[in-house]
Symmetry: C2
Subunit: 409 residues, 2 copies
Amino acid sequence: MTDPAAPTDPAALLGHLAGHPALADRLGGDPARWSVREIGDGNVNFVYVVRGPNGAVCVKQAPPYVRVAGPSWALTPRRVLFEHRAVVEHRLHAPEFVPKPWYVDAESHLLAVDFLEGHTVMRGELVDGALHPHFAAQAARYLADTLFGTSDLALTATRKRELAAFFETNTAMCRIMEDMVFTEIYLPHPRNRWTSPELDDDVRRLRDDTELKLAVSRLKSRYLSSRDALLHGDLHTGSIMVSADGIAVIDQEFACYGPMGFDIGTLLAHLLIGYFAAGAHGPERAAQRAWLLSAVEEVWEGFRARFAELWRTRAAGDAYPAALFDGVDLEPERQRYLDALFAESLGFCGAEILRRVIGFARPDDFTTLKDPATRAAAERRALALARSLVTEPGRYRTAAEVTEAARQA
Amino acid sequence: MTDPAAPTDPAALLGHLAGHPALADRLGGDPARWSVREIGDGNVNFVYVVRGPNGAVCVKQAPPYVRVAGPSWALTPRRVLFEHRAVVEHRLHAPEFVPKPWYVDAESHLLAVDFLEGHTVMRGELVDGALHPHFAAQAARYLADTLFGTSDLALTATRKRELAAFFETNTAMCRIMEDMVFTEIYLPHPRNRWTSPELDDDVRRLRDDTELKLAVSRLKSRYLSSRDALLHGDLHTGSIMVSADGIAVIDQEFACYGPMGFDIGTLLAHLLIGYFAAGAHGPERAAQRAWLLSAVEEVWEGFRARFAELWRTRAAGDAYPAALFDGVDLEPERQRYLDALFAESLGFCGAEILRRVIGFARPDDFTTLKDPATRAAAERRALALARSLVTEPGRYRTAAEVTEAARQA
Ligand SMILES: Nc1ncnc2c1ncn2[C@@H]1O[C@H](COP(=O)(O)OP(=O)(O)OP(=O)(O)O)[C@@H](O)[C@H]1O
Ligand SMILES: Nc1ncnc2c1ncn2[C@@H]1O[C@H](COP(=O)(O)OP(=O)(O)OP(=O)(O)O)[C@@H](O)[C@H]1O
Ligand SMILES: [Mg+2]
Ligand SMILES: [Mg+2]
């Protein structure tokens, strides 16, 4: 809190918030007696919980750089404005899964949303060996509701073009994905890290794997050129918080219009990463492993069923104009669409797994495995499945075939 | 010129232009002695030629409505700003085919570009039975240079996102295409016109043709969601002017980021429309017919060769990062990409033919055929080929197979 670009001190932060009537109401009482505490475990921003007698909000402040790196890695603080707008737009379609925003400020780069009492980060739960049986159904619904709701199936072109134009300017954040997911790990790059020397040969093979690099480049082209829906943009298990009975999605700063399969694939990737990491533990994690694979199946099957239902009941967009299909059974077309989306999702899923084993942002699921040989064995299984998902997604017709391949990997 | 939203009088128009030094230089001499003449044969805007001793410019003025309809059909005059920016961006890649802009004004909605001395509109040439042997090679080059040059293969994501964000707001013009190309003609709509009663049954069948409407809806979804390149957006033969040895492309007011196949397919559609219309004439048009089919082949084959060459020599974009493919032969990937683009182009080609036979904007090629039975026969051949292009584009592996099908239609 001593950095000049950070909110400097709790008093200044409280001053901002107290000046905003809705927020003052929400927290209640005398702002002078609100408490502030930093809770940021994130890499990118400063995050605080602010409590008053009536409730609490989570306040995110974006400095003009990446927090863990400091001012030497500059990053636009406007990312918090994209996060805010994504929260607003996603809440139109999935309010139960996205915390309510109370305040955003374009000058101090502050965003305040409801504090999620009693929630913990999903990734930490996985690392601790926990099971969350309600997770998959809710994640499936969140994905279907936000992706369908912001697509051409739900929105008029006029509305969608306005949204797409806005998010198209989240350039700096998208660039991080373009570099980290689709490019850097296939090159010698100073940011790359992996379990070395155990995986050195695997990394070398990957850099020489033309078939893989071509398939990843096709995925990158889709990320760059498709504007299917408003994505969360970074939907790993560290962006989802869970309580005993609910999930909530946070950290939308990478939001952009892009291919739906990017969000779906990212989430599936992190469930599979959790599965492979759990495999490095003993039989005490057998139930978690089984649950994680069933979650992979449930996320996709739940998404698929919910998306088709929304298409049947709430297709008010400019795609497939209803007037053209009066009395026509669109079900085969929906299934065809969803089959293509499944293949696309598996491609992005594989690309995400690969970059999490070899790249800059390695997940705790793996890094908490302290024995390098054990960790490398789990990571190598993840790499094998991932390569297949990227290069031959059409081989998998159902999510059960994917989980079977994960078991065999 | 008596409408209050029009530039009202030549003196006011000249006043605008004279105040702009570069333009005053271009025309030369005393602005009081410049001549102004309306030349607009278009439906949408007012168009003038302004001449001075040194040269001439073409000035387009966009009223806040569609010119032929009058104020009852409102349309944003900002369209002229998109036209200007598209001209600027396309000239970065294909300056020899796009007239140079001299002046644009966001308040009076005026755009001045070089007047194309000695050029006539390509559509008029086709209607008159002319042949332009140089047309296809130049059109192919224009398409490849503008589409490649504005794609992720040539541009960094940062630059492309800025462009895409700007053009994403050309909402009103894109909407006209969304309605007219992909929607209205498949419904009873007051704007639809066709050769009636001759084609009444064909139109009825088309409205009941679920397979066709599904395929057209998939194309509409691509138009709505893909951001492959900066399109001209309305590349029919009325948007291309020709001289004895050159072509120039005008009227970029529908410019947007979209699927490359939309521009390619539109141009192929209008060459085929020219061919079917020529078929309604006697043997005196045999040479024109043969040339038009060879032009279809040459546009596609020329595009394909030039696009692949640009990819080999000028791929500086973020797609397929060069660093990943050092020493790798990307040629098979290029051919795969171009095969997919060919299929997409044929789909859009078919959709464009259909809407030009049945919709609001019927082309002179057909409307100048005065005998309804003759006209209907030509149009019916066009419809038959078009349906096949939309519903089974994969059936055609080469442009020669398309022209053969046109002959058989
Ligand atoms: N609404 C909330 N309620 C409770 N806790 C929250 C909330 N939002 C964030 N947190 C906590 O703060 C942490 C950091 O939040 P967030 O991930 O949004 O920040 P970040 O700096 O962008 O992190 P990252 O490195 O993941 O990008 C979360 O991991 C979570 O523990
Ligand atoms: N640069 C130019 N040089 C010479 N003539 C031109 C030029 N630009 C346009 N014209 C002439 O003016 C006509 C109308 O131009 P343009 O098509 O751009 O206008 P519009 O009102 O948008 O028409 P449309 O109905 O096709 O949309 C053209 O058909 C052509 O005859
Ligand atoms: Mg973050
Ligand atoms: Mg026009």
